[in-house]
């Protein structure tokens, strides 16, 4: 990857953009490809990983065009390269607030405040995605980085020949479990619901392994250890209320996602869970502010849909700008 083009927002604080994209995952990168190609001056703000959650997925098999699957890292690296090729500026900074510029003599510029400065843009596309939900069980915070992990591709290596637990049997849990089986001796899956919710193709794959065990209809009560590392977990059978202790060295948590939209409080409308409410054009309730990808109310959280809605947001942002009075 070429990071030389990474700019600090402070250095760019005088700049005005046509389009500012908040979030550099697949949806934001796609939107950037479209707005840049339309000749609009575009920047992306990303405070963490370019590529978003997708970047740390080991193998992506449902993104068309890659019959043998592709690693999340490679796919998102390519998307980044493509967006940079068309001229996007990627700014490594966290957006803390967005508001309308009421002082502007022109048609509504928006002001984007970051940790280190501010910029103005005519249209905004919010593609902030989601982050893994915490379980908020005893030991989760204490052992984060010392047995508790949310990233199998980053940390699987540390659990060679060890027994681990994977919490959550949705697509993420099973997919990451399949990756972890390259390293670990055994996996104890824990699922709150009576049945795993992952796609059949993933479940069929994992069932071929004899070193996995499913604890369904079970709640994780605590992650315990010796103060330095994890030694065991306690789970409860939701039907019998029976409590079981399982010895594990690590716990990988995949219990769902939460949108990164706290900073939008009081700016755009969100639903009860924090997902941004958009119409069929990806427009939010604020004129000139669009949203796409996993952070919106779209219930399908896939790279394909993130890419699709990113393109739609970009085209509608372009129409919006073309109709503005400057």
């Amino acid at each position: 990857m070429d990071f030389n083009l990474t700019l600090d927002a402070r250095e760019k604080s005088d700049s005005n953009y046509d389009v500012a994209i908040v979030g550099g995952g697949p949806s934001g990168l796609t939107a950037a490809i479209y707005t840049c190609r339309a000749g609009l001056k575009t920047c992306i703000f990303e405070s963490g990983v370019i590529g978003g959650e997708a970047a740390s997925t080991d193998l992506i098999e449902n993104y068309p065009g890659f019959p043998d699957g592709i690693s999340g890292m490679k796919l998102t690296e390519n998307m980044e390269k493509q967006a940079r090729k068309f001229g996007v500026e990627i700014i490594t900074d966290r957006v803390v607030k967005i508001e309308e510029d009421i002082s502007s003599q022109y048609d509504e510029y928006k002001i984007i405040y970051t940790n280190s400065g501010q910029i103005k843009a005519k249209a905004i596309i919010i593609t902030v995605g989601t982050k893994p939900k915490l379980l908020n069980v005893l030991g989760e915070k204490e052992y984060k980085g010392h047995g508790v992990s949310y990233c199998a591709t980053c940390d699987g290596f540390f659990y060679k020949d060890k027994k681990i637990a994977v919490i959550g049997c949705g697509n993420s849990g099973i997919q990451e479990g399949l990756f972890l089986l390259r390293f670990v001796k055994q996996i104890e899956f824990v699922e709150f619901l009576p049945k795993p919710t992952a796609e059949k193709v993933l479940l069929d794959k994992i069932k071929k392994y004899d070193n996995v065990n499913f604890n369904l209809n079970s709640s994780l009560l605590s992650i315990e250890g010796n103060g330095k590392s994890v030694t065991h977990i306690k789970i409860k059978d939701n039907e019998t209320n029976g409590i079981k202790e399982i010895k594990v060295s690590g716990v990988f948590i995949y219990v769902g996602l939460k949108p990164n939209t706290e900073f939008l409080e009081g700016f755009v409308k969100r639903d009860k869970s924090g997902y941004i409410i958009v119409d069929q054009n990806q427009h939010t309730n604020v004129h000139g502010v669009f949203a796409a990808g996993d952070a919106t109310i779209d219930t399908v959280k896939q790279i394909t849909t993130a890419v699709g809605s990113g393109a739609r947001a970009a085209n509608n942002a372009r129409h919006y700008i073309e109709n503005m009075k400057f």
Binding site: M1, F3, T6, S47, G48, V49, I50, G51, A55, S56, G72, M73, T76, T92, D93, R94, N115, S116, K144, G145, H146, G147, S149, C151, T153, C154, D155, F157, F158, Y159, K228, S229, G250
Partner: protein
Amino acid sequence: MALELNERNFDQVINSGKIVLVDFGAEWCMPCKIMDPVTEELANEVDHEKVVIAKCDVQAEPKIAQRFSIMSIPTLLIFKDGKVMDQMIGVVPKRNIKEKIDQYIS
């Protein structure tokens, strides 16, 4: 440039009397790749009389990773007089790292 640490130079560096930031990572880890330019920039900006910015590949140096119970990457450790003073896990913005380092410069 950030200093590459291995078993031969590790103890010598962390006991050098300077504040030492070590970025533990690996090639396969996407969030670690994000930290690379951050530590490189820090290495160019800090006062070299007082601070060393270093990195350690956990795959090449598993013993060092084990010694500090690194089970998740990227992990950043700040050393003073050979002792771990602070740790940061995951992607951390440059200004936050700088603030932490500044706390330990006496």
